[in-house]
Amino acid sequence: MLSEGGSFMKGMAVGGIFCLGLSLFGSFSPATEHGPGEHHHHHVKAPSKDELTRLSDGHVLELVNQVRVSCIIMVQPKILVYWATVLDTWSKHCDKAVFYTSESSKALEAVDLNEKDDWARLRKALKHAYENAGDLRWFFVAKATTFAIIENLKHLVLTKDPEEPFYLGNAMKSGELEYVAYESGLVLSYEALKRLVNVFEDEEKCPERGHALWTMSEDKQLAVCLKYTGVFAENGEDSHGKGLFNSKSVDSLITDSMRDNPTNVVEGCCSDLAVTFNGMSPNQMQVMMFGVYRLRPYGHDFHDLLVFQPPEGSDND
């Protein structure tokens, strides 16, 4: 009898260790639940023209006021030229733009978080942005190496309620984890940011020094923490289903399209209302400002339902 009991205990022990081992390897994660009937919507589409025309003028005006964006831009002295370029280009189109740095620079101003660890730094920046949100309800997080068109971001979230949790961008998958890629920019609604800042306090669910035995990139860490609060990554798309958050530069995407759609290069490439591009040089960002905010064919009128005024005191847009 004793030997049988011993056998049993050995069995249990082996079974238990086996289970633990698998969970640590992440690919089998008992910590993530996908129960039956739980259907995740993985994309958020920009409103169609029809949808917008159905809204009353008063409602549209309300939405324009509500859809103000606070930009959280992560910089470092070692990418000073990008920092200066973002300051001079797309960040001027944010309703509020705050630069967060790992260490201060004599040349440019930023909130010095004095934090070398990327994940810890991102946490601090998000917390600071939340505490200083004022009446802004949408948050755009980007590194200075990303180029963004804020008007198109506003168009994407125009009819979405920031009191609902939204976590949007270029949604990617790593095993079971769906997350928004950092380099293509992240969008968080007020509710999502609120939940995130709250879960930061939970050292078990969202530790400051990261989860697993190895370090995950900050964007994946963020996704894990948000998942605990019931917020899931969603892909930002235009009304045709084209991704709006690009992990590559315009040149790179066009070159890919020349290879993949040689008879329809531009149509097969990128959205007319793209929100972000990544991997563009500072000079290319200056060219983009002209390309997006100035260069156009004479005589075309888009009859957009909203009007976004150009920023004050700027001469390159």
Binding site: M12, A13, E151, E164, V287
Partner: protein, 326 residues
């Protein structure tokens, strides 16, 4: 018998251990708060927005592209796939005719024959298209042109007058000449005078530098050089790509690539008109990039700063006066 039982008990233990731990871990798992999950409106695909075209449809522009057999695949086909579609008529001029289709000029290729090609090309145009076209644009197979903006620029000039338009260069010719790479335009009267010049011997093939040589003939035949800058004095034709002009630089002496400019060039965002007409040294990927930036990518709802047609402005009734040569 005992071994079998032993194994059985071991296996049971293994399974129990595995699943109880799984259960334990699972109860700590994240549960989705379904009640708060986002609502989505599933939008049906929107038909392409067709912008309202206010351009003057009655200005007919013939584009002729200076090219050669070896560049048809690598360069010219991308011109054809992008901006050339907007020309009222486009002709690809080469040493010999092909199914591209190209017009054969019966001139050999090579730098030394460039002006011969130009002369033959204009003779062809004069012979075949004086009746159905109003303006004649010459461009290279690495020039990118925004036809709508060219049409807008041309709208203030009279094609029955002798007009020669483009990016004005100062050297060699007293009143200057227009850059070949940036693209130049001749009015019908200018084309008549060019042909007459060669018929009468007043114009000759004295040089292979085609843009400068053509400028000399224009001067001889008393064709006027038009100013194609916009109301803010910003250039529309550009002999180099956009990044040569629009990048901010501290004030400096003219860089080498602006040495020839007749009008004092501006560096930085004030260089170039919103309604830019051309850029040069544009390789195929850049052709598509410019096509994307000009005709596709935009900032939704953005109110552009530059509105030359704004009727609410009190200081402009007729935005540009029609210039006439003396």
């Amino acid at each position: 018998m005992k071994n079998l039982t032993s194994n059985f008990i071991f296996t049971t233990g293994l399974l129990m251990g595995f699943f109880s731990l799984h259960f334990l871990l699972d109860s700590n798992s994240i549960k989705g708060t379904r009640g708060h999950f986002v609502k989505h409106d599933h939008h049906h695909a929107v038909k392409n927005q067709t912008p309202v075209d206010k351009s003057n449809g009655t200005i007919r522009i013939l584009c002729w592209i200076m090219t050669m057999p070896k560049y048809l695949e690598t360069r010219t086909q991308h011109v054809r796939a992008t901006w050339a579609k907007h020309c009222d008529r486009v002709l690809y001029m080469s040493s010999r005719s092909t199914d591209f289709p190209t017009v054969g000029l019966n001139v050999s290729e090579g730098r030394e024959n460039l002006y011969w090609k130009t002369i033959r090309a204009f003779q062809f145009l004069h012979q075949h298209h004086m009746h159905d076209m109003d303006w004649f644009l010459k461009a290279d197979d690495d020039t990118f042109v925004v036809l709508e903006n060219l049409r807008h620029t041309l709208s203030r000039f009279d094609t029955e007058k002798p007009w020669y338009l483009g990016r004005r260069f100062a050297p060699f010719i007293k009143k200057g000449y227009m850059s070949g790479g940036a693209g130049y335009v001749l009015s019908k009267e200018a084309l008549r005078r060019f042909i007459t010049g060669f018929q009468t011997g007043k114009c000759t093939h004295f040089s292979a530098i085609e843009d400068m040589a053509l400028g000399k003939c224009m001067e001889t035949m008393e064709v006027e050089l038009g100013d194609t800058r916009d109301e803010k004095g910003r250039q529309t034709f550009h002999p180099f790509p956009l990044d040569h002009y629009v990048i901010r630089t501290p004030p400096r002496r003219r860089p080498w690539f602006m040495i020839y400019d007749f009008y004092t060039p501006i560096e930085g965002p004030g260089c170039c008109s919103d309604f830019a007409v051309s850029f040069h040294y544009i390789r195929p990927p850049q052709m598509y990039v410019l096509e994307y930036l000009t005709h596709h990518l935009r900032a939704y709802g953005y109110r552009y700063r530059y509105h030359p047609d704004d009727k609410t402005k009190s200081n402009t009734t007729e935005h540009v006066e029609v210039q006439s040569p003396t």
